[in-house]
Subunit: 508 residues, 2 copies
């Protein structure tokens, strides 16, 4: 795309070009309203050479737009703490709401190609990221997003000219960094790598290469591209992806049928084990903190199965500086207006921390499926999207464990009734709980399908029998401590352990 | 409070203490629901000596609580980027919603006393911060918050013992930092300074010193204190502060009566000036970026006065990597359930950046006052609270400029009608605009009072006559460039310029 790039004249004189720019800018401002009504979220990704004028282009695009409906995200210099999350997280975090625009100044392309050429990631990680970018864009498209990808192209000579000018002026020299000079020096290697990346990611949303030598020309090109793509998207209406047939390393279970609802533990044994396992978990928390292993614990289960008490027994030995419990209820309007995984991406633990989700993204294939809060395509597609999400986490080195806290309908009835009859517990039981209870068979079907389709080698499901809540707590603690112990021993954090030594600093 | 501290026995044996702790924990879990219903937000601040066990105490307090209704914030090690905001910002940011609890592990006390003794802030800044803490707590109280302040006290010997134990164990030695040893060595100085701080901040919410030598004893003391304070708060009901009679350095104007609604500029002159001033602003943005001066521009004004177009002319020359436009509409539920300044504290520019607020916190004394969205006490108190807020910003070095974009009722009518009759502009005009228009005299009164009570020497109001929108834009650009030029020349950023040299790094 770049190696065979030919500069073409747009056959406009300066004045014509200027007036065409003014016309398209006004048009784009008007399109903002149409996008908003059509509820189509639009991401404009601006990548390109150092000193090509990415910031300037964004400015020229937004200058007539209403700031209520767009935002600008800049990733040129990734803040240090972003390295403590999977790399896609920061891009998920800034996703716009339905109907709004986001301009990204240097995004997932530079975070992949640039990092490779600047030797910040190894080749294997580069390849993984290319795939992640493909998945990211497909997920965006399938969930209704339009992504417009612009690459600002200048020649090696032009780049050198610009850098020299900036560098020689006392007031602007700070704007050119060693990284920029590195790119200038390695221009041919970057050219080849950019080209390869664009070829690898051209399918879902195509790249548009802008000739960024002369100022107004690329502004016009960009305006035309954005305006045209938006028109087309409005014409086609919001896209809804079908499920893919991509395969995952599935374990093929477990199934609710395998549950042992008679499992019990005696109280003395419980107390002893609780103390022992909590002590062990406390130690392990120290170690995952030092080895910077992020941990995600997912809790799902029947109402009144005992999730809350179970979570508290896990959380108790943890250092509050290093864990969070995220209760998940129905999404807020801002959450509902974004990719369904957005609210989880933005709450991930940083490396070395633990996040416990009290209900999770699996709501998509349970309550949202059963209550019709999303379309059939949406929940059917979600199995794959969730597997991809969890793969992204575990590839980064996250430990992901998923618990289904399990009881039978009779036990639930007894607990509901007890709650109803205990004044201090009445707030725990609502009409909705009773309504959900009537849908037990529907949920059972959804749970079985979920267990079958999302129990992967890298993020397995565990059924925790919780008719005896104490038994359930001990089971969960055992699994958590066993898996963490293994993770600490393996210590496989990708791209982090190499830079980091535990004695270096007191961590946060 | 510490120098005369006497350890007292609670006259309980181990078993009695344990059972009392269990009882109070369950009680606290129950109180969570009552607080929620009473919509009283509660902040539990845990301060104390290094190695006193603050994290552990918080864990013991929360272990029976429902994680949906509390959160924990840890500030022991302030992330570097927090230094690029006024120090109170991070504490505002984590404020809980009405009815929820927040536990703070090391907060504004250590950020004041600790920083002084560790020589990270000078004495003058320490004094300023003490006052800021007083204001912060008063504002919290007046807006219905309950703050419970616990200090965990151990002797110098006990601290030494604990540090040595941690240090000598290979697995825990990383937990003791040089900072901790520094405190151990300087224990008497810290003791005196902690004491002084507690005395200085004991009025609005009192301090509770916990004897943290033996483990279960302080847990019991803390549970008792929290439980008792919550009971009392529930009994008294949500507090609503009266306006204070604190005085501020007011300019005593401007007034709408001074406006010159006939002011115009001719088009050729406008174009020339616009170009010149935007060029100047572009240069200045570079410089405030390098000198790390944060800038806050506030836009208020009549509907259809031309705020949007004015903002765009200011934003156009700015580098999009260094500015944000924040459109302010009615608060979301999460915003409404917090201190009314919360949503502005959390959107402040970091040092070197510009934030343009399209409508602002002055909504409190205009629309909220007129529509009755808050109580009379609330909006009357807000003048002082806003002056304090802006003082906090400017003390940090922020440039704060406030523009009232001004037109007369006749001009508004013409613009409303034009919008109504132009298809592409119809979305800009709503029934609400017409209703607000009917309340012009009420707004006029509110605006005059606002200008009189909040135009301070450090954050002045400017009336921008905007019957001729071009004239208004030039006026605003002139003021912004003049003030920024002066700020760059003075370069008065407190506590930042000393550490920082522009050649050191490429900034974000």
């Amino acid at each position: 795309m770049l190696t065979n790039f030919h500069r073409e004249d747009d056959n406009l004189n300066k004045k014509e070009r200027k007036s065409e720019i003014d016309r398209l800018r006004a048009r784009l401002a008007g399109q903002q309203q149409t996008i908003l009504e059509a509820k189509i979220p639009v991401v404009v990704l601006v990548e390109g050479w150092d000193c090509a004028g990415k910031g300037n282009l964004i400015n020229e695009l937004i200058c007539e737009m209403d700031p209520r409906f767009y935002s600008v995200a800049v990733f040129r210099h990734t803040p240090e703490r972003e390295d403590r999350f999977p790399f896609l997280r920061k891009f998920f975090q800034v996703l716009p709401e339905d109907g709004k625009l986001l301009f990204v100044d240097t995004g997932w392309m530079e975070d992949t190609v640039g990092k490779l050429l600047r030797r910040e990631i190894p080749n294997a990680e580069y390849k993984r990221r290319v795939e992640s970018c493909q998945i990211f864009e497909r997920q965006l498209r399938d969930n209704g997003y339009v992504v417009i990808k612009l690459f600002m192209h200048i020649s090696q000579e032009e780049q050198r000219r610009r850098m020299t000018t900036l560098w020689e002026n006392r007031d602007t020299s700070w704007r050119v960094s060693e990284e920029d000079f590195w790119q200038q020096q390695q221009y041919p290697a970057f050219l080849k790598a950019y080209d390869q990346f664009m070829e690898d990611t051209n399918k879902v949303f195509p790249w548009h290469v802008l000739d960024a030598q002369g100022k107004n020309k690329y502004v016009l090109e960009a305006l035309r591209t954005v305006s045209r793509t938006v028109d087309k998207a409005l014409e086609n209406g919001r896209y809804e992806g079908k499920p893919t047939d991509k395969s995952f390393p599935l374990l093929g279970g477990p199934s609710l049928k395998d549950a042992d609802l008679n499992a019990v533990i005696d109280v003395a044994e419980y107390k002893k084990e609780l103390k022992r396992l909590q002590g062990k978990l406390r130690e392990l928390h120290n170690q995952i903190y030092r080895k910077r292993i992020p941990v995600v614990l997912c809790y799902e289960g029947w109402d009144a199965a005992g999730k809350g008490g179970n979570i508290r027994r896990i959380a108790y030995p943890l250092d509050p500086r290093g864990f969070d419990v995220i209760p998940v209820a129905s999404p807020t309007p801002g959450e509902k207006a974004r990719h369904f995984l957005w609210r989880f991406w933005t709450k991930l633990p940083k490396s070395g921390h633990v996040t416990i989700f009290d209900r999770t993204w699996y709501g998509r294939v349970m309550v949202e499926r059963i209550e019709g809060f999303c379309s059939e395509n949406d929940w059917k597609r979600a199995y794959g999207e969730i597997n991809e999400f969890e793969k992204e986490l575990t590839d980064y080195g996250t430990v992901v464990l998923k618990f289904w806290i399990n009881i039978d309908p009779q036990t639930q009835l007894e607990r509901f009734t007890a709650r109803q009859n205990t004044p201090e517990k009445q707030w725990k039981i609502t009409d909705e709980d009773w309504r959900n209870r009537e849908k037990w068979p529907l949920y059972e079907e959804a749970v079985e399908e979920m267990l079958r389709k999302t129990s992967t080698t890298y993020a397995p499901w565990y059924i925790i029998d919780s008719v005896d809540k104490r038994y359930a707590r001990i089971q969960t603690l055992k699994i958590v401590t066993d898996v963490l112990e293994k993770a600490v021993n393996d210590c496989i954090i990708r791209g982090i352990e190499s830079e980091w030594t535990p004695t270096q600093e007191k961590q946060d």
